[in-house]
């Protein structure tokens, strides 16, 4: 580390490299978000309500544009309950009406009853803008790391510690 202080140009180049990596990753994420028109184009499955199709830790790719046809019954959608931040991945089982005001009802494959109890008080159906995307792609297991990180926060500290160690060791 001391060697980098003596060579500020190299330190600045390393910092810029690091910043470049971070911003590239961020721009790729935001670019994907714009292409798919979804605020969160890649989600990790958190619950077992869609088993055996999706297990906890699976990665889903979302698409939120209705280019060829409207979101219809049978599609697996991700939605946020009003004013809550937890995205729920379930399947649309009923649709009444057409256009953006159509009423949609969802249900998890592994649940016995539909999602009426999950919706906000007084809300019996979802509308299209509650949905942040429908699932078009699937990759198993990849997202389990994020679940482990959120359920065991000490893992985050350990990971940051290891990354810091790697950076320090590489300089020498």
């Amino acid at each position: 580390m001391l060697s980098s202080l003596q060579n500020p140009r190299q330190a600045a180049a390393q910092l810029m490299n690091f910043g470049l990596i971070l911003t590239t990753a961020f721009m790729m994420w935001k670019g994907l978000s714009v292409i798919t028109d979804s605020p969160s184009p890649i989600v990790v499955v958190l619950s077992g309500s869609m088993e055996p199709a999706f297990q906890r830790g699976d990665l889903l790719l979302l698409w939120n544009r209705n280019i060829l046809s409207e979101t219809s019954v049978g599609e697996v959608v991700v939605y946020n309950v009003k004013d809550k931040d937890i995205p729920i991945v379930h399947r649309v089982v009923r649709k009444f009406g057409v256009g953006p005001a159509a009423k949609l009802l969802t249900k998890g494959d592994n649940n016995l009853s539909d999602d009426t109890e999950l919706y906000a008080r007084g809300q019996d159906y979802l509308v299209r803008k509650d949905i942040i995307g429908s699932v078009v792609g699937y990759i198993p297991f990849v997202g389990y790391v994020t679940i482990m990180l959120s359920e065991h926060p000490w893992l985050k500290t350990v990971m940051l510690g290891i990354m810091g160690l790697v950076v320090v060791l590489q300089r020498e």
Binding site: E51, P52, A53, Q55, S72, V73, G74, E75, V76, R91, V93, R94, K95, F96, G97, V98, K103, D109, N110, T116, D124, Y125, V135, V136, G137, Y138, I139, P140, V166, L169, Q170
Partner: protein, 231 residues
Amino acid sequence: MYSSLVRIQNTFGFFTTVAFVVAAFVALSDFVAPRTPVIHSLKTTNLQVVRGRPHYYSSKKEEYAIIKFSLDADLSSLFTWNTKQLFVYITAEWPSTTPSGATIASNATANQAVIWDSIITAPSSDHLANIGPATLKKLKKSAAGKPIDPSRGKLSLKNQRPKYQITHPSGKMASTEDVTLRLHYNVQPWVGLLTWNQNVDYGRWLKLQGGLSKKFNLPALKKKDEGKAKS
């Protein structure tokens, strides 16, 4: 340049690259396998409209339609090595009506509701299905070392009771006209794109033949002293 840390990094990078390429190959192999789903027959056998409540404690009274049906289908060509499960579902579709009661025929599928669905797992994902250890052992033994049994995709249901009794947001279902039943499927892969039944042929994937039932009308509310109305 040859520290163990660098070697670990290189190995891990190589692993992710290989895993990504293999996954892409598996996902693309789906388009090479032909799909020839066929529905031999789909028809209703019994129709009822009853009054009920959405929950035990709710005061709202709604009308629910119970549509029993018979199905004979062969969806075995949809199972490939990349299939995790096949989700088959039957929807009842009907056009919307204006407030005065006239049917808006321009959109015959304005209302759609799933009346029945079924999850058919492929042998590679049988261990994830909701079955007990004894049944699982038997299933694994019967499927081990063999290609996917075509009977997994063959559905033959007679006078099947629907899983869901459907209603409309307005609460009225009695005497709804021009209702049809339609079969759909959703193939869930191990890696790749989720696909549904399509309306046109895409290369080796043929469209679903015959998944639509004849139009029928729902009967009036079942009264206590009348018999059931059949279509």
